[in-house]
């Protein structure tokens, strides 16, 4: 639909859409009690804007204009479409009445300014509903809650616009079939559903974050979209510490974006990163956000704990000033709430840094035989690191060589071989 042409008004329509669409969709969804239909009605208003703004100029209150237009188009559509007519006649009459009020623009403006937090949340919960595939959840969330056009989503996911459009249509049908049109999760399922929402936001972020190569600017944009969603969720769910944990974690990770690869695109491990390249503004917002996740009791969840670990790194002026004792403690808590082999390995590294390589090696050896880690190259790599620090050069060299054999990543293979080679000279 939009996104390919780049004239000024076009981009202004996109900009207004990005700022206002989530709220417009939320208000419309409340009226028609259906997120999918609301999203279509809002899209109709964008088409109207693309037709009218170039000729008539951008209206003074562009968001309210879109809202008023969406309502008018909704009435037309309901009256025209036999399927909708029976179900929504009452809604059409209601919309028509509000369109004929004295000052529809002012009315729309106050609707958008009203507290529509509950409606926005329902939109997000529907878009992230577990009946949908993870790809569909991400696409629908970006479309309905983050103001991306279908074209923008397609470019971000390196796929075609029809593919995304179809994915969204299917997702809406699936929601309709499951009877999920505009529901809020029940208190009993709230925790699980919130977890699903946070997972979608984190996946969107990682989709952008892990794609480091290429000059495609849409990928880092995806990180920013996820950060924006996370920030918005903190405003909508101010009593959910994990939401603040996720928002802070994303800020900390994004703050290192410029430092995590070198000029040749090789990954730079965190302790060796040039901290001058870390983004202080994002670190500051991350620390403030984490601070607001007030639940610092024993029940901190995985996002809060990961953010707290990232905060330890962010606070340290240099790698050797890192509070590894604190990080080791946080990893122990993280392992308790999110038992995973990779967390266990990271915990071993942290213990090695905090309490000496002997302790680190002990913990690595405890988990080295776990099925999930058996062929994981970072296990011997970490062992090598600990052994090297303990002065056991021969064993360290063997460990690095073993690690090099296990990885298919040529760069990492090269790095590990070099480390083994360096030790070989010393023996």
């Amino acid at each position: 639909m939009i996104g390919e042409r780049t004239d000024g008004v076009h981009r202004t329509v996109e900009a207004v859409w990005r700022l206002e669409s989530a709220k417009i969709i939320a208000v419309l969804a409340r009226t028609v009690n259906d997120v999918g239909l609301a999203e279509e009605l809002a899209s109709d208003a964008v088409i109207a804007a693309l037709e009218q703004w170039p000729a008539e100029g951008v209206p003074d209150k562009p968001g309210a204009w879109l809202m008023v237009t969406a309502k008018r188009r909704a009435v037309d559509r309901i009256r025209r479409d036999q399927n909708l007519k029976g179900k929504y006649e009452q809604v059409a009459r209601q919309l028509e009445a509000s369109g004929q009020s004295e000052d529809p623009i002012a009315e729309a403006e106050s609707e958008l300014d009203d507290d529509i937090g509950d409606e926005l949340l329902r939109v997000v919960f529907c878009a992230c509903h577990p009946v949908l595939s993870i790809e569909a959840r991400a696409a629908l969330t970006l479309k309905a809650a983050a103001g991306l056009t279908t074209g923008e989503i397609a470019r971000a996911y390196l796929t075609s616009e029809p593919t995304v459009a179809q994915r969204i249509v299917r997702a809406k049908r699936k929601l309709e079939a499951a009877g999920v049109t505009f529901e809020a999760p029940s208190p009993a399922e709230f925790g699980e559903r919130l977890e699903a929402v946070l997972e979608v936001v984190y996946l969107i972020f990682n989709e952008g974050y892990t794609a480091t190569v290429g000059d495609d600017l849409m990928r880092p944009q995806l990180c920013e979209d996820a950060m924006r969603l996370a920030q918005r969720l903190t405003a909508l769910l101010p009593d959910q510490p994990e939401v603040f944990g996720l928002a802070a974690l994303l800020d900390f990770q994004a703050s290192r974006a410029r430092a995590r690869t070198d000029a040749d695109g090789e990954p730079v491990p965190l302790p060796e990163q040039n901290r001058a390249k870390w983004d202080r503004l994002l670190i500051r917002r991350g620390l403030a956000t984490l601070h607001r996740s007030s639940a610092w009791g024993d029940d901190a969840g995985p996002y809060v704990l990961q953010a707290a670990i990232a905060a330890c790194h962010a606070r340290a002026a240099g790698a050797d000033e890192t509070d590894w004792v604190r990080i080791a403690g946080l990893y122990s808590r993280l392992l308790a709430v999110q038992p995973s082999p990779v967390v266990a390995l990271n915990r071993a590294v942290a213990f090695g840094m905090a309490f000496g390589p002997e302790r680190g090696l002990e913990l690595v050896d405890e988990i080295a035989e776990l099925p999930a880690l058996k062929d994981y190259h970072l296990v011997p790599a970490v062992r090598g690191e600990m052994l090297e620090r303990m002065g056991r050069a021969e064993e360290a060299r063997n460990a690095f060589e073993h690690a090099a054999e296990l990885t298919d990543n040529l760069r990492e293979k090269g790095q590990l071989r070099r480390r083994a080679g360096d030790l070989g000279d010393a023996v």
Binding site: G8, R11, T12, E14, A15, V16, R18, L19, D60, P62, E152, Q221, E224, D225, M227, R228, L229, A230, Q231, R232, A235, L236, R258, L281, L282, R284, R285
Partner: protein
């Protein structure tokens, strides 16, 4: 992409009406930007009378305390926003300007929108 929106003044801060109405409206606006996930940072600045300048001109370093008589423009505050496009940042600035027009009739000011360089 991040944009710095500088609040620039080029004439005395005179306007009709109650300054608290403007302050409240701008406070709500900044809160809205934060709730929408757009805001990275925002702050107001003390008057230039309490500021200072360190100049380098003709190879000479000079320190001057405010106010700066010869200055034609000065910065009163800033927003830093995360946006997908310059148009979006401009729209944010426009909304802020609209609030000034509404709540402080006669107030004249400039919002300067500048993209923050992102060296990758």
């Amino acid at each position: 992409m991040r944009y710095l929106i500088n609040v620039v003044h080029d004439r005395p801060l005179d306007f009709e009406g109650d300054p608290t109405a403007l302050h409240e409206a701008m406070g709500a606006f900044v809160a809205k930007l934060a709730a929408d996930g757009i805001l990275v940072d925002a702050a107001g600045l003390e008057p230039t009378e309490r500021g200072a300048r360190v100049d380098l001109h003709g190879g000479k370093v000079k320190i001057v305390d405010g106010p700066f008589a010869e200055a034609k423009e000065w910065i009163g505050g800033y927003f830093i926003v995360q946006c997908r496009s310059q148009e979006e940042a401009v729209e944010v600035a426009r909304q802020s300007i609209e609030l000034h027009r509404e709540h402080a009739p006669g107030f004249e000011l400039i919002h300067e929108v500048r993209r923050i360089l992102d060296e990758e």
